[in-house]
Amino acid sequence: MHAAVITFPGSNCDRDLAVAFENAGAKVTRVWHKDTSLPDGIDIVGIPGGFSFGDYLRCGAIAANSPICQSVVDFANKGGYAVGICNGFQVLTETGLLPGALMRNAGLKFICKSVGLSVETTDSPYTAGYAQGQEITVPVAHHDGNYTADADVIARLNGDARVAFRYADNPNGSDEAIAGILSANKRVLGMMPHPERCVDEAHGGTDGTALFRSLVDQLVTA
């Protein structure tokens, strides 16, 4: 399995994401935001967390309009896999690949702590390694993670099993405690919590490992 991980000015989880993919057995190619195309033969694109372009204008808005993101949109529209974590989730909503928007946390504070998540569907290459309803612990670190979408979108996400993760104890005011969502074809995942920050005993937890392992397994056999 071959993953591309994008770096924007201000990304700060790009290396962690690359290491998480590598530890799960993937080959990783790092890609710069000014590149105009993704490497040949990749299976998945990772959009990392951080503060791309200083969060200027809106979180993820400038990154979503960078040269590489046009390639990401084309790749995903052709059925390619893409995962956006934290700022990467914000970028994916700004590109329109995922519906809704991430607003300022309801409590207005930057939240940096480990939170409980429930796995809401196992019917995706990202979540196949978990049990339905499994409770996992994953760190969050964001100021703008308050997932908002109109009622139709929320109904569609719920009805089509496109909510990947929900917070056990909603930290940021997200609609229906949504922490991560999938595209209609289940190949694009956006989530605010950081699975790449819990893939090693030294991280204090390894609940993120199953996400990367199942991705590598599923995309190898695909």
Partner: protein
């Protein structure tokens, strides 16, 4: 020519920052502040003859996230 773009959260979208400002005004003793909505103003310095339609495209593509925000354009 100049254009001024006002970007505001759509009606019905909760504005936690506006709420915090409302509370702060109340704490300062200003009574009767029933609602506060916070937005942004973006001033554009444009080549003469730039159409309002072009500015609208700028708003749709970048300046506003129309999922949650609406925009108004003032030319001149």
């Amino acid at each position: 020519m100049k254009a001024r773009v006002h970007v505001m959260l759509k009606t019905g979208v909760l504005d936690p920052q506006g709420e915090a400002v409302r509370h702060a005004l109340g704490a300062l003793g200003f009574e009767g502040v029933e609602g506060v909505r916070q937005g942004k103003v973006i001033e554009l310095d444009l080549a003469e003859g730039t159409s309002k339609g072009t500015v609208e495209q700028m708003c749709e593509k970048l300046l506003a996230n129309t999922v949650i925000e609406r925009f108004d354009i003032e030319i001149g």
